[in-house]
């Protein structure tokens, strides 16, 4: 498998760039001349129409360069007051280490978030380090966080499995979720090993994936083995058995929305080339890309194309496509997404399974979009910046309901769960998506 040689690409591209500071000066001169000309024209027009006030335009740029506003660091305002800012783990891209784990920290790794198997079964992965030697561990609770047991993660060939999914007391783990380095340099993704437990992680067995023509109904999806291409992976919530569905050869690039409930269907965001259009630079033709949704209700056998809001679907090859974790449905009929435009976020809602869309409420949250959660009972939870909003009219309006809880809210058996994202590694649980209870993490290691 080819390496992702970002360093080499950067070095080579920098080497071929020819600095032209004189061109910068010339461009600045042209802009200033154009601005003065436009300003003069506007002044003349103002005189012609009777001198209506056009403030501040004469002699100033028509299109002001936008000074970037500082985006605030994320702060969670919780019941205990202001919480610590989130910290990030270090990564060294130059050495091709893809793992963002800080070696000696207990709560670390790419996804140090609590899994909710249901309203009572909770799991938090961590590591117990003695110097640089770390043991893969997880804490498990069967009583909604009142008591916790600490257990060792399964391992094979010296690599720990990382928790991938939970359904009640059934757990699925997978090793080799991270890249490995070749002896001669470079990195690759090895074939994964799956583990399953049906007793909350007390005992584990290897679970070899079985290739199927259709993923069984009711089997939740998990992220596929990173070393595979065009594969959907699901597990039996009763046994932890793994099934894989393989796409046809030549299938295009697709992002599967794995955190949606299976009852809603299997949803993907796909891109396809639309008509070729000549480049204004070279005159040669190249495809223009479009993003769209596809849904399967029979485990991958057949797929139906669905739309995205027009503002998102255009040209998925450059700027304009939607990100996979911002299209959400819990029942396959009400589908919600949000579009960022400058400082504003606007909801888009479909009530017919993404056949048609309607623009909904717009807010200016002064921060990133965090989560969207349409609930089974109808209201939509929406979090952005430091605030939580709720819509009870299908997304037409949003009402502020309190501080944001965190990110990644999702439906789980018995209700909904949402992780904190401020370094607390804790979780919020709710049976209806309206009233949420905070469950703090255990002390680890």
């Amino acid at each position: 498998m080819p390496d992702l040689d970002f360093s080499g690409f950067a070095e080579q591209t920098r080497a071929v760039f020819k600095p032209e500071y004189a061109d910068v000066v010339a461009r600045a001169r042209r802009r200033r001349r154009n601005v003065r000309t436009v300003g003069a024209v506007i002044t003349v027009l103002a005189l012609i129409v009777g001198g209506a006030a056009i403030h501040g335009l004469s002699g100033r740029p028509v299109a002001e360069p936008t000074r970037p506003k500082p985006v605030p660091s994320y702060i969670q305002i919780g019941p205990q007051g202001m919480s610590p800012k989130p910290t990030y783990t270090l990564i060294d891209p130059k050495s091709h280490v893809w793992d963002v784990t800080v070696p000696d920290k207990p709560l670390t790794g790419l996804f140090p978030r609590m899994l909710a198997g249901d309203m009572n079964h909770l799991y938090l992965e961590y590591q117990d380090c003695k110097g640089s030697i770390c043991t893969g561990m997880f804490a498990a609770s069967a009583d909604r966080g009142r008591t916790w047991q600490k257990r060792r993660l399964p391992s094979a060939d010296g690599k720990y499995g990382s928790l991938m999914a939970a359904y009640g007391a059934t757990l699925v783990a997978r090793s080799d979720v991270l890249g490995r380095r070749r002896p001669g340099g470079g990195a690759y993704m090895p074939t994964a090993t799956y583990f399953a437990s049906i007793d909350g992680g007390i005992t584990w067995r290897a679970s070899k994936p079985r290739v199927v023509a259709a993923l069984p109904a009711g089997w939740p999806l998990i992220d596929s083995d990173p070393g595979t291409l065009g594969v959907l992976t699901a597990y039996d919530p009763a046994t932890g058995d793994i099934a894989e569905w393989h796409a046809d050869q030549g299938a295009g690039l697709a992002f599967t929305l794995v955190s949606l409930p299976r009852a809603a269907g299997i949803w993907q965001i796909r891109t396809r080339p639309i008509r070729s259009s000549p480049s204004s630079t070279t005159g040669t033709s190249g495809p223009t890309w479009e993003s769209y949704l596809a849904v399967s209700r029979d485990g991958g056998v057949t797929w139906q194309d669905r739309t995205l809001p027009d503002v998102l679907s255009g040209n998925g090859g450059a700027f304009g496509s939607v990100e996979a974790d911002s299209v959400v449905t819990v029942d396959g009929k009400t589908v919600v997404t949000a579009v960022k435009d400058g400082d504003k976020l606007r909801l888009y809602v479909s009530h017919d399974g993404a056949a048609t869309w309607k623009a909904g409420a717009e807010i200016a949250p002064h921060g990133p979009m965090l989560s969207i959660l349409p609930t089974r009972d109808g209201p939509i939870l929406f979090e952005a910046g430091t605030s939580a909003y709720r819509s009870t009219d299908g997304g037409a309006t949003l009402q502020y309901v309190g501080p944001a809880l965190g990110s990644w809210p999702r439906a789980v058996p018995g209700g909904y769960a949402e992780d904190t994202n401020d370094g607390r590694f804790s979780i919020w649980l709710s049976t209806d998506g309206g009233t949420w209870t905070f469950v703090p993490r255990p002390q680890v290691p």
């Binding site: 992702l4 690409f9 996804f111 690039l253 480049s279 630079t281």
Partner: protein
Amino acid sequence: MSPFGVADRRMDVYLPEIYEASAGRLVTQLYGLTGDFAEAQDSVQEAFARALLRPRWLSDVDNPEAWLRTVAINIARSRHRRRKIFAGLVRSGRLDPTDVPPISPDHVALVTALQQLPSRVREAVVLHYIADLPVAEVAATIGCSIEAVKTRLVRGRKALAEQLDDAFVRESNDA
């Protein structure tokens, strides 16, 4: 003597140094984002030109390169939107009409594969792996949560590996 008067004297000395240090890096990052080397150069040159016209803005920021990157990205985005609407308009003042710089085919393939990613994923990948920004700074730059950045990085790497492996297999079969 500055062509822009006494008030810009400080920027006369300051900006060329920033340009020498940063322009190459910024062009590389914009090339990764746009897939068009000429567009990348254009956007970066325009960003510096705007900084030269507004020296006070640049002198007020802690990280001039980050500010210039944001301006260059906004310029590229704005041009992309206008290009869609006004197809056929010819842009003048291009430094180099060539879309593909003289770099190795593997690196061209990497840039091509980057263009297949959704924009949000591509931005995170470029800012982290090419611009070498820490995850938190990537989150602050593109306006999303740290968790979202991590998700995009994982998906981006996976998708790039799949794309490049697919191309690698095709080339091997054709050889």
